[in-house]
């Protein structure tokens, strides 16, 4: 029982965050082989409000006042000693403009200090002061820039607005007389020095503390998620350009990949070399209106693909996916273990949006298919096929599984050479192409469905990302993401709730749909942890649909715990037992045309039995197709559902067609069995003038003879 595994824990969401926050990384070094304009990210204006949630608690709340003397009047100095300022930030807003990102912070300031007042008349007067300013506004423009691959965030047009009327100061415990106290108070309240001091404190706090916070967040993000661990890949991304406008902030990056030298894979090509892709240049990015959109250029994707291939990616291995191909040869070679592995021996070429509705097509000149047959404990026999082939697949987002998916759609072979130790077999490129397309691909597809290449829900401090949509254009792939702040103060666990009871019985791939809720985390960001018969599954499962594949038949115990983005786990797990039915119904054809069939309306009867579902609860469908003489799938004539009378009727079948009727029966768990009947439609058997009844035959033969005689005479006359 293995849940869908993520082969790519790449973080596309992380990539997006990096695109926005990368400017904070100060240690960047321009990589020599980086692809310029490889990656672009855009934070929409609508998403800026989300930033303040995590930032607010991280902004400074107090500041020590420097003991710097000021001279409000000639001959007078006031030196704050042991002064402290406390900020109460009410709001912070980021608003992108053409000049940069305007940051506006609304706050109140409170502070205390011991004021050392020196003048010509009064010396060494010390008063305890308490002061406050309300409705202070910090307003500045952050003008992002890039210098030697390092992003800079200089503040410009910085203003701190403090209305004197909103400033209140009190003095107490003065060491001299009250008149002096009054004079000093007048000095404090009536001059700008206090306002300036507060403004300076606010400005210092924000401009000093904000960048490190961003830096910390992005560093944490890069160090944990922004890689492809299964393929041993790490990204090296440096900023090139950061611009703003009223629609948002856009960052463009150069990117390269770092190959983990210690990474090893069973699918790693031996002696593989990366081709020269210098002819590829990125297109201008096209962003969407989503909160966060990331555009990955084709050159970068191609480089990712090249490096991933070099480390063993692009490999469909039946062992890894626990696919049993032995069933296909069981009739001939019982108990044989058959493993199949397809990998490319040269770097594949990526084509994006090759046609409407398709995201990507991978083409490789050399696809190696390895078939291993092991009988008993003997040495396996390995057949190798070298194939020129292209693979076409779709990249998408599973909204139920909250996963990015790669679904192979089509494999076509243009040439093939098969070698088997000690023998050579006649296997054509058409046959290998058909085998790949019509057996291997469906086998993989049936088992894995859409192969999750990454969870679409990613938690990177301080945000959680969710990929909502993937779009491909010939020059780029765009991921549209939504983000949600992770509230550190969130300690309320979610509530695990089942949306509806699971199928009873359930198929071996058990699907549980949840409607878990949380006080703060949106539903699509909620994850679950699953135990089956007390065994915890590999990883948190994002989304509300849980699919546990390959559960053995019988009554199985499931325990599910919802987890919110803050990591809070529901202390009251949902526990249920699921009756798993891993056996398909047995369908038998009771009667059907045998051999040639005259094409008259007919009815085919069939029977069906199942180990857990009663006959009346079984559902049926059928397909009727024409069997080709070539190695190709049947041409579908008609298909549809059947009522439960265990029969299917049809008429008007095309003459001289090889017809295959396949009846499928599905049990309550969704397991489907099938049986088929095949025959030839032969409306007019070629008996010549012979027929079943002699009188008619005699007449027919007489007519045929007369016709032949007439033709012979005509030929003779013409001659």
């Amino acid at each position: 029982m293995t849940p869908c595994r993520s082969r790519w824990t790449i973080g596309i969401a992380g990539l997006a965050l990096a695109a926005v926050l990368q400017p904070a990384i100060a240690q960047a070094v321009c990589p020599p082989n980086a692809i310029p304009n490889a990656l672009s990210g855009r934070l929409d204006v609508s998403a800026f409000s989300i930033l303040k949630g995590p930032l607010l608690p991280k902004l400074p709340t107090n500041l020590v006042i420097p003991e710097l003397p000021i001279s409000p009047f000639v001959g007078q100095t006031i030196t704050p000693r042991q002064g402290k300022v406390t900020f109460v930030i009410h709001d912070i807003n980021f608003a992108p403009e053409d000049k940069g990102v305007r940051v506006t912070v609304a706050l109140d300031v409170r502070g205390t200090a011991s004021l050392d007042y020196q003048s010509i008349i009064f010396t060494n007067t010390v008063c305890d002061s308490a002061f406050s300013a309300v409705n202070v506004v910090f307003d500045a423009i952050i003008q992002p820039g890039v210098n030697d691959c390092v992003a800079t965030f200089p503040f410009a047009e910085l203003r701190v607005i403090v209305a004197p009327a909103d400033v209140v100061a009190t003095l107490a415990n003065c060491t001299n007389s009250g008149s002096i106290y009054a004079e000093l108070l007048k000095l404090v309240q009536g001059s700008d020095w206090l306002v300036s001091m507060l403004a300076s404190a606010v400005s210092s706090a924000i401009t000093t503390m904000l960048p490190p916070i961003v830096d910390k967040l992005s560093q944490a993000f890069f160090s944990t998620d922004f890689n492809v661990p299964d393929a041993g890949l790490r990204f090296n991304i440096v900023p090139e350009r950061v611009t703003t406008d009223t629609h948002g902030l856009t960052a463009t990056f150069a990117a390269d990949l770092v190959l983990d030298p210690v990474h090893a894979s069973s699918c790693m090509p031996i002696g593989g070399e990366l081709p020269d892709r210098s002819d590829l240049t990125p297109d201008a990015p096209i962003f969407s209106d989503s909160a966060l959109s990331l555009v990955v250029s084709r050159p970068l994707l191609q480089r990712v693909l090249d490096n991933a291939w070099l480390t063993g990616w692009l490999c469909l291995d039946s062992k890894e996916l626990n696919i049993d191909l032995g069933s296909y040869v069981a009739a001939v070679v019982p108990n044989a273990k058959v493993d199949f592995k397809i990998m490319s021996t040269t770097a594949p070429t990526l084509e994006l949006a090759p046609e409407p509705g398709r995201h990507a097509r991978l083409a490789t000149d050399n696809l190696t298919a390895t078939l291993s047959i092991q009988i008993g404990q003997g040495e396996p026999t390995v057949a190798n096929a070298a194939v020129k082939a292209s693979i076409q697949g779709d990249v998408g987002v599973s909204t139920t599984m909250r996963a990015l998916t790669l679904q192979p759609r089509e494999i076509t072979a243009s040439s093939v050479q098969v070698t088997v130790p000690g023998a050579s077999l006649g296997i054509s490129q058409e046959s290998v192409s058909g085998f790949l397309q019509n057996l291997v691909l469906p086998a993989f597809g049936k088992k894995i469905g859409a192969l999750p290449i990454s969870s679409s829900v990613l938690l990177t401090a301080p945000f959680a990302f969710c990929v909502d949509r993937i779009e491909a254009a010939p020059g780029q792939v765009r991921a549209d993401l939504s983000l949600w702040p992770i509230e550190a103060e969130d300690t309320v666990p979610p509530e695990t709730k089942l949306a509806h009871p699971p199928l009873r019985p359930s198929p071996a791939d058990v699907v549980l749909d949840f409607a878990s809720t949380d006080d703060m985390t949106p539903d699509k960001f909620i994850r679950h942890t699953v135990w089956v018969d007390g065994v915890r599954q590999e990883a948190l499962t994002p989304g509300q649909r849980l699919v546990v594949v390959g559960v053995k038949g019988g009554v199985r115990s499931f325990k599910v715990v919802a987890v919110d983005v803050a990591g809070n786990e529901d202390p009251t797990p949902f526990v249920t037992s699921v009756l798993v039915d891993d056996q398909a119904p047995v369908i038998t054809i009771a009667d059907a045309p045998l051999g040639g069939f005259d094409g008259a309306p007919t009815t085919v009867h069939f029977g069906a039995t199942d180990d857990r579902t009663s006959a009346g609860e079984l559902t049926f469908r059928y397909t009727l197709g024409i069997v080709s003489r070539a190695n190709e799938p049947d041409t579908m004539l008609v298909q549809g559902d059947l009522a439960s009378e265990h029969s299917v009727s049809f008429s008007d079948l095309p003459d001289a067609a090889f017809v295959r009727l396949t009846v499928f029966g599905k049990d309550a768990a969704g397991n489907e069995g099938s049986a088929q009947a095949a025959f030839l439609v032969d409306r007019a058997p070629q008996l010549g003038c012979a027929a079943a009844l002699p009188p008619m035959s005699l007449f027919a033969c007489l007519v045929a003879w007369l016709a032949w005689r007439r033709r012979a005479r005509l030929r003779g006359a013409r001659a």
Binding site: A383, V420, A423, L425, N438, G595, N631, A677
Partner: protein, 497 residues
């Protein structure tokens, strides 16, 4: 005759396709089976008093009423020369190679005898005999283009029947016979393991090229079984010059059982050294046998006789054969295996004439028969083969007054060549359909000749004389009829499979 040797003739295939895709196991092939049309010119087993011969045991035992009372025996020895040829045509000329023509020739013997004993009670006399009710054989090249259908095969049955014939006066008679029949069948053909493996894969996912010699195995089937045959015969002479004969043959289906052995292609032992694919299993086949009805009307013309024949055989019963394989190891052969024949009912018509020669005791006879093909062209294969037949025969018979007879006949059989432009067989069809064999497109041709030697002997001439006298006393009789005087030649009939 029962070696229906004709060419073309038939074929009732018998063997199971064994689901081994690409192979066919069908059965026999050229069945040399009898059809009325092939009946010899030297006499008729139907209409007749002294016309009875050994073939009467098969066609119309009612004719055995007609020999003069006493002990009478007849032996027919026939021989057939059959040549068959086949030029396979590719379904896809662009991607398939051309095929070399294949042919073979064989000589097939056939032996039958009939015995009628003296009447015991109320005109009832014991009769018995034997014949070959079912036979066929092919001997195609083992590496020929037809090898996935068949290379060598034969089926032969031999039946021994006993019963009684009864006359109801001088002009009517009935007979009935029953007896066991033993059948032996052997069949061998190539099996395309690649096609078989392909058949286990989804449509469009076939891996192996079809008919790759490196993936070729071989199948040998041996079966035998017992069954029974029953026959009813009738003879009537409603008018002095008109004789009618009819025979209904009811053979029981043959329950064949035996073994099937599959030898794998050598390449598999190289590729899979730890696995030996040499399955030997049991096979049973319920071989359906068709009911047949044969009739003849003979009319005396001067000193001679002319006759018309019509025959119908319910070959539709052999539309599809089903074999069952059990206890094979490994079990992949087990289960029901269909062989599709597509037979329709069969019929034949013919005309016969016999006239005395100027030399004492000699009669010359001739006949012409027509029998159309009863298998649609698209179902024709090298092992499921029948032709439309035109047969002409000439024969001469000598008979002395002591009841000794010797007859000789020669027949030329013209099988109408067949061009199969569309075949019902498609190796992409699932093996359980019975159609998963290589296409049998192509041109089929044949030639055939037959010779018949017939000898009859009568031991009790006094009884014969008495019987003839009695017949004369009862009215228009054989003895007084011109035809009887002429002692027209016998017809040696072949018999349907």
């Amino acid at each position: 005759m029962r070696w229906n040797a004709s060419v073309g003739l038939v074929a009732a295939a018998l063997l199971p396709r064994l689901a081994l895709a690409g192979s066919v196991g069908s059965l026999l092939a050229v069945a040399l089976l009898p059809r009325l049309a092939l009946a010899g010119a030297v006499g008729s087993p139907f209409a007749g008093a002294t016309n009875a011969n050994s073939s009467s045991v098969y066609w119309n035992s009612g004719a055995l009423v007609t020999p003069p009372d006493g002990t009478w025996a007849s032996v027919d020895l026939s021989g057939y020369y059959i040549g068959l040829n086949y030029q396979r045509r590719p379904e896809d000329p662009l991607h398939e190679p051309s095929y070399k023509p294949v042919s073979f020739a064989l000589v097939a013997p056939d032996l039958a005898f009939a015995v009628a004993l003296p009447k015991l009670w109320h005109g009832i006399r014991p009769i018995f005999g034997s014949y070959v009710p079912n036979a066929g054989a092919v001997n195609w090249p083992k590496d020929g283009a037809q090898r996935y259908m068949v290379d060598r095969a034969y089926i032969v049955s031999y039946a021994v029947l006993a019963g009684a014939a009864a006359d109801f006066g001088p002009d009517y008679g009935l007979s009935w016979m029953v007896g066991p029949a033993y059948t032996q069948l052997q069949l061998s053909y190539a099996i395309d393991f690649g096609a078989y493996a392909n058949g286990k894969l989804p449509a469009g996912a076939a891996v192996f090229q079809l008919e790759d010699p490196r993936m070729q195995g071989h199948v040998d089937v041996n079966m035998h079984g017992w069954s029974g045959v029953a026959s009813l015969g009738a003879f009537a002479r409603p008018l002095p010059k008109l004789k009618l004969g009819a025979g209904l043959l009811v053979p029981l289906d043959i329950g064949l059982a035996g073994t099937i052995r599959v030898d794998s292609p050598p390449v598999l032992s190289v590729v899979l050294p730890t696995y030996e694919i040499k399955p030997v299993g049991n096979i049973v086949l319920d071989y359906p046998m068709p009911i047949s009805l044969s009739t003849e009307a003979a009319y005396a013309v001067g000193e001679g006789e002319v006759a018309l024949h019509v025959q119908w055989i319910h070959r539709r019963a052999q539309h599809v054969f089903a074999a069952y394989i059990t206890k094979s190891d490994p079990a992949f052969l087990e289960g029901k295996q269909l062989t599709v024949k597509e037979n329709t009912d069969d019929w034949a018509i013919g005309a016969r004439a016999a006239f005395p020669l100027p030399w004492p005791g000699l009669t010359m006879a001739g006949r012409f028969d027509y029998s159309p093909r009863y298998i649609p062209k698209e179902a024709i294969t090298a092992v499921n083969l029948t032709f439309t037949l035109f047969t002409g025969e000439l024969g001469v018979r000598w008979q002395d007054d002591a009841g000794h007879e010797v007859g000789f006949g020669y027949g030329y059989i013209y099988p109408v060549p067949i061009h199969v432009g569309r075949s019902i067989f498609n190796p992409r069809m699932p093996s359980e359909s019975g159609l998963s064999s290589p296409s049998a497109k192509g041109d089929y041709g044949a030639q055939a000749h037959k010779v018949v030697l017939t000898v009859a002997w009568r031991w009790d001439t006094e009884s014969v004389t008495a019987s003839s006298a009695a017949n004369d006393a009862r009215g228009p009789s054989e003895a007084s009829s011109p035809r009887d005087e002429a002692r027209p030649a016998r017809v040696i009939h072949t018999q349907g499979d």
